[in-house]
């Protein structure tokens, strides 16, 4: 299918074919919009590196109550989103509702976990405190030293690679025209975005462009300075182990080990995802000896049985970090350019709600109320400051 047929152009061009870009494209096309999407290698970024935790509760942090509300909404939307996607594509999306167990390794970690439990209670979030023995009854291979646990039944997971494959199929089936090429913004020297310009020189005219380029969102060719807050890459190293037929773990495990965090996410098809480090070294995607060592050390401390498992993958992903860790959703300062980026640690979780909010904006002209607080212009004071120094 071509985007440059007899018709003058598309209504929507999406820049980025990760989970967010594909979901936006699929939802927009399902609502009858003509959509094209450009990405040199769809799903090669954070979408395939991520662990796929859908964890609004265990990801709740002090001072991020507004983001928590959006995360909870998206978690609640997941079952229906997955059902529609699987029915439409006849592909499994790897949704897993076995819940999450958080555990504490030593006394200091136990104090932190207890504080987390009080924080959950204050916010009305559903979590149950367990003793170390109770935690081991749920997951018998936990290390004997585990002091305490917190069971969060509502924090689920999805196999983000299966989800991406399904979304890619859904987008194409819904009529989205996919260009496997690098693209920049097309402005034709005007104050408005006119579509996308592929590296080949091919033009994809469109009324609206949705920017869903993850950590590369601020690096896009043709993006005028200052039209959206800067998105920066936050590197995470993550491992994948192969699990035997008898799994060493049956639900997502999040552990605090001597003040360090590690998570282990077991897939039903026999994979164990272990993550993740966090540092800011630009677009460096190297895997380091120290990163792998620390992940395995902490994982082994709480689940000694992993030492026998084959290590099948060590890679990095670059989280798209916004200034306040929350996504940028909606109109940017460049007319026609809509942001759907900056999801930081919550891209997989926020995929359904982002897709629906942006589809609403495209078809009805306004973001739904729940998404309005995440408008890119919320850093207005910082914008002014940036304008005065000429740099964001």
């Amino acid at each position: 299918m071509s985007c440059t047929g007899p018709r003058p152009g598309r209504e929507v061009a999406v820049l980025g074919g990760g989970l967010i870009g594909l979901a936006v494209a699929w939802r927009a096309a399902s609502r009858g919009l003509r959509v094209c999407l450009a990405d040199p290698d769809p799903g090669s970024g954070a979408s395939s590196a991520a662990a796929g935790m859908l964890a609004p509760v265990t990801e709740a942090h002090y001072g991020e109550e507004r983001l928590l509300a959006l995360n909870l909404r998206s978690a609640a939307a997941y079952p229906e989103f997955v059902r529609e996607l699987e029915n439409f594509t006849n592909m499994p999306a790897g949704f897993d509702t076995r819940g999450t167990l958080a555990v504490a390794f030593d006394r200091d970690d136990q104090a932190v976990l207890a504080e987390t439990a009080r924080f959950h209670a204050r916010l009305g979030l559903d979590s149950d405190r367990l003793t170390g023995r109770e935690a081991r009854r749920l997951e018998p291979l936990l290390a004997p030293g585990v002091q305490a646990g917190l069971l969060v039944r509502g924090d689920h997971q999805i196999d983000n690679r299966m989800l991406h494959a399904a979304l890619l199929a859904a987008a194409e089936k819904a009529g989205v025209c996919l260009h496997r090429a690098r693209a920049g913004l097309l402005t034709d020297g005007t104050e408005r975005v006119r579509g996308l310009l592929l590296e080949s020189g091919e033009r994809l005219p469109a009324e609206h462009v949705v920017l869903a380029a993850g950590c590369w969102s601020s690096e896009i060719e043709g993006l005028p300075p200052g039209v959206l807050p800067r998105i920066r890459p936050v590197r995470g190293q993550i491992l994948r182990l192969a699990m035997p037929a008898v799994p060493v773990l049956t639900r997502t495990l999040r552990a605090l080990v001597r003040g360090r965090s590690v998570y282990l996410v077991p897939r039903a098809h026999g994979e164990l995802v272990v993550g993740a480090t966090s540092d800011e070294l630009g677009f460096d995607t190297g895997v380091t000896a120290g990163g792998v060592y620390e992940l395995l050390r902490e994982a082994h401390d709480v689940l000694p049985g992993i030492s026998e498992l084959p290590l099948v993958e060590a890679r990095t992903g670059l989280r798209p970090g916004s200034p306040d860790n929350a996504p940028l959703l909606g109109h940017t300062a460049l007319p026609g350019l809509i942001a759907a980026t900056g999801h930081y640690r919550n891209g997989v979780l926020l995929t359904p709600v982002t897709a629906d909010a942006v589809a609403d904006l495209l078809t009805e002209g306004a973001l739904p109320e729940y998404a309005a607080p995440f408008s890119p212009d919320r850093f207005a004071a910082a914008d002014r400051l940036a304008a005065s120094t000429g740099e964001f």
């Binding site: 002090y62 800067r230 920066r232 003040g259 800011e280 070294l281 970090g321 200034p323 306040d324």
Partner: protein
Amino acid sequence: MSDTDTLRIAGRDFGSRLIMGTGGAPSLEILREALTVSGTRLTTVAMRRVAAGTRGSILDLLAELDIALLPNTAGCLTAGDAVLTARLAREALGTDWVKLEVIADEHTLLPDPVELLEAARTLVEDGFTVLPYTNDDPVLARRLEEAGCAAVMPLGSPIGSGLGIRNPHNIELMVEAAGVPVILDAGIGSASDAALAMELGCAGVLLASAVTRAQRPALMAAAMRDAVAAGRACHEAGRIPRRRYARASSPSRDETPAF
């Protein structure tokens, strides 16, 4: 104390005696708010966790807030590693100031005194302005000063522990003997810890976790700012001697002026 009270290190004046660290901040926006409220003029960043030239990073934020950057060698376990990290930082950031950390192990994060002194000597010789993170050991502090360090920065208790100042007597001994600023660096948990450090005569306080990991970082930054100012004022004002028995604050007869 007056409005012109400044922290002077190696001939450079800073308008605040609170030095901030950035580790543990939940987001850049929260860090921005906390740093702004704290009034800090000097902030330390771990060189292993950031890269110069990454736009939108902590380094950009410090430049925007006009806060001086103090690179640190957190995570280094040997003198060689710390020296290399400091040199890379100098090359990348164009500053020869370094907060020198050489830790003994990852569990306690206590300074390794032997490696620390070795690294300090090498870096001073290499032209660095060295601010070493050290144990609360007055003798080691003296050796670091003799090696040419621009300040000494003893811990109150282990990094991130929030256990406060475990050996105030040693901190006092260090302050008494030192010809360079003594800056309390590590272990601060609450505002009273920061105030105590200043009352003991420290020239400044360096803290990170106490603010960045607080439930409301900006509010805690305000508390620390005020505590440092209060502790400093208290130290300068000269506290009353401790007495065994009460002494009425409104005397019933004339007092001799001197006693």
